[in-house]
Structure formats: structure tokens, C-alpha cells
Symmetry: C2
Subunit: 451 residues, 2 copies
Amino acid sequence: MNYETYFQNHREQHLEELKELLRIPSISALSEHKSDITQAANWIADKLRQAGMDKVEVHPTTGNPVIYAEHLQAPGCPTVLVYGHYDVQPVDPLHLWETPPFEPTIRDGKLYARGATDDKGQLFLHIKAVEAILKEEQKLPVNIKFCIEGEEEISSPSLPAFLESHAEMLAADAILISDTSLLEPGKPAICTGLRGLCELEISVHTANTDLHSGTFGGGVPNALHALVSLLTSLHDEQGRVAVEGFYEGVHDLTPEMREEFAKQKFNEDKLKTSLGLDSLYGEEGFSFVERTGARPTLELNGVYGGFQGEGSKTVIPKEAHAKITCRLVGQQDPQATLDKVERHLHANIQSGAKITVVKGESARAFTIDPSDPMLQKAADAYERIYGTRALFTQDGGSIPIVETLSRVLSAPAVMMGFGLPDENLHAPNEHFNLENFDKGMLTIVEYLKSL
Amino acid sequence: MNYETYFQNHREQHLEELKELLRIPSISALSEHKSDITQAANWIADKLRQAGMDKVEVHPTTGNPVIYAEHLQAPGCPTVLVYGHYDVQPVDPLHLWETPPFEPTIRDGKLYARGATDDKGQLFLHIKAVEAILKEEQKLPVNIKFCIEGEEEISSPSLPAFLESHAEMLAADAILISDTSLLEPGKPAICTGLRGLCELEISVHTANTDLHSGTFGGGVPNALHALVSLLTSLHDEQGRVAVEGFYEGVHDLTPEMREEFAKQKFNEDKLKTSLGLDSLYGEEGFSFVERTGARPTLELNGVYGGFQGEGSKTVIPKEAHAKITCRLVGQQDPQATLDKVERHLHANIQSGAKITVVKGESARAFTIDPSDPMLQKAADAYERIYGTRALFTQDGGSIPIVETLSRVLSAPAVMMGFGLPDENLHAPNEHFNLENFDKGMLTIVEYLKSL
């Protein structure tokens, strides 16, 4: 059984199948894509059946459907639950895509499409790894379950209730997730920490109508002035979040933790060059990996108000808007953080302006001890395929459901990522390096056989 | 010759004609409306011919056409040049219009449509006033010329060259313009001052791609953070513009000037109520009429960057944009002001971010001495129709071409406005009060006959 040969022989077919999935614009944030969500869910279910899973079910939820599949013919062996998501991020600004987001294209050994790496491409590796073992050996070395959701990019609102009500069905000894990244090409990493998340939207209102900036300019509040000065007040000059109590629950970095971060030998100059930046920016006194791995952040994801068209329009806008997300670490409480930010906004709004705040989804930060045997075996599998042992890292991103999965199912979450940090997740020209497509399937086979 | 009866008898017909003009979406700022611009110009030319003007010409320019018309059969009498514009402002946000902007509708004695008051409705009064006198008396009491442009809302880029090259054709003893407002219903005003204008667009760029706010958040510059803090730096806590040298050329308010402003008995509480504001906002130490009439301002007309769609998107945007206009007074130099703002922006941009500045159109402030006989006669005409003498006011708005017209043609500019300050110029639900539609035509007839 040479899986390298098997995957080489099936490479074209696998890529064509993955492209089929990537052509489905299953954007969970936009309600007009509801039918694409259904199509993507059914596609995944079909592929799981074709792979040879014994039972495959598409479960409706109050939101998007969850796909469950199982193959439980290895009595006495551990049970692995594979988690992934078939929904994707929105695609704007569309004009910055070199090829359309839902027309998958291979260039220079990379597969370009929305969802290529996050998470359709990575999820697909597990389906094909299981299929390969069943085709080559007619049985699996472990019991396997799949739980694939369609709301990860909108913070998984329906899955927690589904997990609670199906805890027995989903019970497992480890939760296997590929939705993170290698450190850099050829340097695998197993994520042992994820930041939490909380989100809010702000609207600032001034007069009951847009006003002429000549007749009224200088004499009335301008919703954009009020908004930008309010948003500016959220940070201090040192790049710290200036919201009272924001850092409560954030653990100070110990010398040991700083040493662990330093092991990554992260090259900040290389990052600057690849992003075309003169300098990085962030909270003073921390390195890039510390800032993103162990420090919280408050980011403006969108700001808009007034005239955006061609030319100029001499208007004083009556309203202006901002979308904000915070990434959380340690014991920061997402709801309490939202409350603190909201208090800050109300306390700092300019006179003559009113503010409304809508709080969105939230999730706590997650960590796991790297000495867990399920993680050590994952590091072994990487070593055999990549020739180098995986580092245990802390990721700046959030997969809000990981903390819930691990808690509800009382099982360690094994985050074996096969993406790369510069693959434009959530941005134009998202892509997946095919080297990791190939090695990913081999690593998963190795891991399952080692358990 | 009872013009009140004449206009009453023709009222329905006049309103139907004006609605025809208001249905043409002649937005000069948006290039896709080029053919609407042509249609509006031809419509005006046709109406001037029907009114009985001897010669009517549509002059092409490097931009939108200028309509010239003349009726010069009053030898020894003064010549009046009527200036107006047939282009209109953009209409967004469209969803805030109670009836569509280009489907004119009369409600509660007000005609609603984009351009109803600025300036199609006011310009139309002059055409119909001239037509009325010619129909009733077969001759005009003065020589009349019309010069109607289609680029006022984009700061009249082509007209100055047209004026220079046609100065003899356009020569006049007074320039008559209706593109301003009464003080309030029943209280006419003649504008003796207009603020100047200069405009610029800013783009802030950070990384060469949008980035995931999890993976990168807190460790890289965010174009929106850089933009909002830059925009905030343009004002101080007292509402003053914080750009070095911005106030050079601004005259201090003398006690006499403050007394003249006080004569308007402007009711700030009433303004607050009508705009739904808890408080007004502006430079400390000045009243609303002083702030808008005699003080400069820097206003954000549009700000945008990042995700604006439904839901949330955890992105760090690579770029963010702002549209800014300044209103100028006294001897402030528009070009020098743009240079100062640009210097401020470059000096205050956050590290890791780059800025590009594109300067737009500009115009100097304009003033005229209220004792000019052409203005005094205009005040007389208002008094006979409205029963109250017009006040001489300073308007916060800019009609950039007024200063140029007056200078190139060496003639006083008589700004007889018939709009009202709350008619939503440049905003959704622009309208024109029909009381001033009726009285406006009568006032113009009175004025022309008095010269």
C-alpha cells in the first residue's frame, strides 16, 4: 500500500472534485447564498458516501445544515471526529481578484478560489484520506466520525446546540481539525491556542437628514467627524486598546512563553517585504508572534458614511457606520469585553451625535497542553511526511467552535493545519499550495494509522 | 397688466413644464449621465426660444454645454445677464427619498425632486418671468442675456475659459443669479457673500492585500485605523481646524459684523428642532450664522474602507478613503489651503501606512458691497412682493463661478435667492416651496421693470 502512488494516480481527479466544491459560492454571511449553502452541504454528503462512510446524514439546524457521517468498524480502537466547515467568507472587493473567486484556477502550484484553504480545501483532504484507506485496505484503522458545519465564518451560531443535543452520537477520543496553517513552507505546526472573538457594529447619527456642507458646514455636527474621532479614541498612541478594563484576564507573558515564541524564529523583515510594508504596527513592547499569538486586539473591519461615488459631493452626512471585531486571549470574557467597549463608545461620543451599538457573536479563547498524546502523535505524523517535527504554536485567529467542541465532547482538539499564513484567507486571491494538498492527505493517513 | 393673474392662469402649465425638466437626471458628477446633461441643455434652449428670446445658442465646451440667449431690444437701458445651472447633485442615499428623485411630486405645497430648488426650479423662474413680460407687453424693460451652465455642481471647470473667450458677448451691467435662499419663509435675503471652496480626496494604503484579522490582527497596520486617526487630527477639541496656517486670510469678526449677523435674529433652537439635534456643533465662540457665514470649515463628505455588507467580515483592509471639502472666507487662498492640508496629512500619517492626496476644484470666497444700486433695487423689488425688505446676508455655501463671473465681466452679482435653507439641497428629499415659486416670478418681473 503506497499511498504516495495512490494519491499521485488520483491527483487530477481529486483536484477536479475539489474545484467542483469551490465553484459553489457558499457564503454564510450573505443570505442570498442560502441555496448555495444547501448545494455545498449536499455535495459534501455525497462525497462522504462515495468515500465509503457507512452512514451519512444532513441534519437541518435553525441555521445551515450540519453533515454527520460515521464509519465505526474498529472495535477497541479510538474514535476520531473530523470537524470542518463548508461555508466561506464574502469576496469583496471583487475587483482585486486576479481570477474570479468562484472559478478555481491553478497557477504556479497554487489553487486560487474563495475557500481554497479556508476550509473547503483542507476539509477535502480528510474525505480523500479516508477514501484512500478504505479503497486500499477495505477497512479503517480507527473509528471515524465527521461533523461538518456551514456557519463557521459567522461564528457557528447553530452548532453549540447541535453538539449538546447530539453529544452521544458525536462522542470521540479526539477532535481532528484542519483549519490552521503551517508556520511556513515545509515547517509544520500544531496549533495549541486560538484567540477568542467578539464583534460589534456602531452607527452614529446626527441630523435627521443629510445637509449641504456650504449652508451648514461648520455649524452642525457631522456624523463622519463624530465617528472617526470616536474610533480614534479606541486606541492610544502606543497602539494599545484604550478601553477601560479591556486587558482584564490577559495573562502577562512569562520568560518561558517568550522563549517558546522565539523558537519560531519568525522573520519580521520577510513578512514586511511580502506584505509590501515599510514597518509593522502594533502594541509597543511585543514581537509580531507575541502580538498575534498572546495579545488581544481591536480591529476596524469596515467604516463607511457619506458619498463614495465618482467625483465630489458637498454633503454633511447624517449617519456613519463601523464594524469592529476584537480578538481575545487568556481569560478575557467576550460579553464583558463588548460591554466595556460599548461603555467607552457612549462615554466618548461627540456632543450633537447619537450612537447605537449592536453586539454580534462572541467566543472565548482556547488552549490545549502540547503534551497530550493525541497531539504528540500528530507531531510524529508530520515528521514522517514533512521530514521535520511540528512546532506547537498559538494562532492569532479564532475558530470559535473549537473551544465548544472540546468542552462539550470532553475530547482534545488536534489542530493539524495544512494552510500557509500568506494564503489570503478572508481576502482577495485566497489560495491553497498544492504541495500541502499532497502532503496533507499523506499526513492524515499516517496519523490515523498511528492511533 | 396684472402679472399675479397671469402667473395664476399659467400656474398648472408652468409646473408641468418644470416637472419635465426635473425628470431629466442631469447629474454632472457622474459620467454615465452625459446624455441627460445634453437633454437638459436642449430643453432649456427650447424653453428660452419659446419664451421669445431673439437668439438662443447651445455652446459646446470642453465639458458640458453652455446655453447663451439674448434679447437686446432696449437701447439705452441696462443689460442684465441671468446666470443659472441645469446640472444637479447625485442622489444617493436613494433609499432615503420618500418619492424618487427624478419623479417630481407635489406634497403640502412643495415640489419634491433633485434640482427642485438647486437650481432648475430657481432658474426656471427667470425664463418664465421674461416670457410673461414679452407675452403681456411684447417688449422687455431691459436688455436680457442668459448664460446657463451644466457644471456648477462640479465647480464649473469649463465656464471660466468660456467667459474669458466670450466676454464681449456676455457683457452686462449686472449679473442676476437665483441660486440662494430666503432667510426663512416670508423673510427675503440678498446674498452679499459666499464662501470659497477647495476639495481633496485621500487614500491610505497599508499592506499589498487585505489580511485576516485573526492571523494578523494587532501585528500589522490597519488602513482604517490609520485613516480615522489622521482624519481626527484635522480638528482640535474646540472644533477648530488643526491644520497649521489654515486660518491665514480669515478676517476677525468686527463688532459691526457681529451686529449685522445678530440682525438676522437667527433661531438656533428652531434649527436644532427641525434637524432633530440635541445640540449644534462647531468652532467655539461663534454663533451658527457666524460659523457658516464668516468662518471657514473643513468637512468630511465621505469616508469608506473595508467591509460594508451584511453581517461581519474579519478583515484588515489594505486601503481606506476619504473625501474632504473646505469652505473658505475672506482672503484664504484655495490652492495654498490645499497645500497646507496636504502637508498636515503627510506629517501625521501613522507609521506603516502611506497616503495619496488628489486635489480637486477650488474657488475663492466672494463678497459685494450691499450699497450697490443694483442690490438696493433688488431689495425694493422683494419689498413690493414679500411686504418686507430683504436683509443682506452672507451665505455659507459656495457658487464658485460667482466670483469669476463678477471679476471677468466687471459687473455686480445680484444674488436674489428664492429657496429656503431647509429645502434639502444636496440631500434626499430636495424640494422647492411653491409659495416662493409664485412670488419669485413676480419679484423678478418687478426687478427687471425697476431697472
